[in-house]
């Protein structure tokens, strides 16, 4: 995908549509677009083939909104990303196919509890490829709390109306974003602990 993005941005430059100093930005934008479109397309094709279109759209929509605010785990390559995405979607489909509808309400409430705790404690989490400014940190924190509030309202209405199938799809997306958030926090902590010491810190240790 990266190579394709490089080629396409080069082509845009050759066609005189973008300037030389814009190539890096367009390369990023093209890579993001290709990966997003391929992710959505692969999941929606599976959804249509399995007859679970609206369930998949609710699941993906909830996941996207929460992840947009929370941040979360990222794989190191596009291939691993595709594997993780399809595995998560597979777990969602397995649940929908195998579990009885009377377990959906309990699952939705448990998912909400996990999301609320994880979101309030940890959100948002940044990635080394997408560091936050102080302003962004505040913005995403507010967004995360609002998203949790929104999910709480939808969950309450859904439970009152008995829309369990809708709720379980929403909860799965939300829960997946929360798990991804917790994994990212753990990953960041692990990276910070195993970071090679700088020359300065080595000198300080020697002094002691």
């Amino acid at each position: 995908m990266e190579k394709l993005a490089v080629k396409l941005s080069e082509r845009l430059y050759q066609e005189k549509i973008i300037a030389d100093d814009e190539r890096e930005v367009y390369q990023y934008c093209i890579e993001v677009t290709i990966s997003t479109v391929s992710y959505w397309a692969s999941i929606l094709i599976c959804a249509v083939l399995l007859g679970k279109l609206w369930e998949s759209v609710v699941y993906l929509g909830a996941f996207m909104v929460m992840r947009f605010c929370f941040g979360g785990y990222h794989a190191s390559t596009h291939f691993r990303c595709a594997l993780v995405s399809m595995a998560s979607y597979g777990i969602f489909l397995t649940f929908i196919f195998l579990f009885p509808i009377n377990s959906y309400g309990v699952f939705a409430v448990i998912s909400w509890l996990i999301t609320a705790v994880a979101g309030i404690v940890f959100a948002p989490v940044e990635h080394e490829n997408r560091p936050f400014t102080a302003k962004e940190q505040k913005k995403f924190r507010k967004g995360s709390l609002l998203a949790i509030l929104l999910v709480s309202i939808i969950l309450s209405i859904g439970l009152a109306l008995g829309k369990y199938r809708f709720l379980v799809c929403l909860s799965f997306g939300v829960l997946q974003a929360s798990i991804s958030l917790v994994v990212a926090v753990g990953q960041n902590k692990f990276k910070a602990q195993n970071k090679p010491k700088t020359d300065h810190s080595v000198i300080m240790e020697k002094d002691f």
Partner: protein, 44 residues
């Protein structure tokens, strides 16, 4: 034909810029991979 090709490339540039800007305004991308964001896309 040349004009048509230019229009296609312009549309491609516009759409990708829109998606890229949308993604750069969020805490992270929607799927499990995050390419390195260029400094020029960061808001000060």
């Amino acid at each position: 034909m040349k004009k048509f090709k230019a229009q296609i490339f312009s549309a491609l540039a516009a759409v990708t810029l829109f998606v890229g800007t949308l993604a750069s305004n969020g805490a992270c991308l929607f799927e499990y991979y995050q390419p390195k964001m260029p400094d020029k896309m960061r808001k000060e």
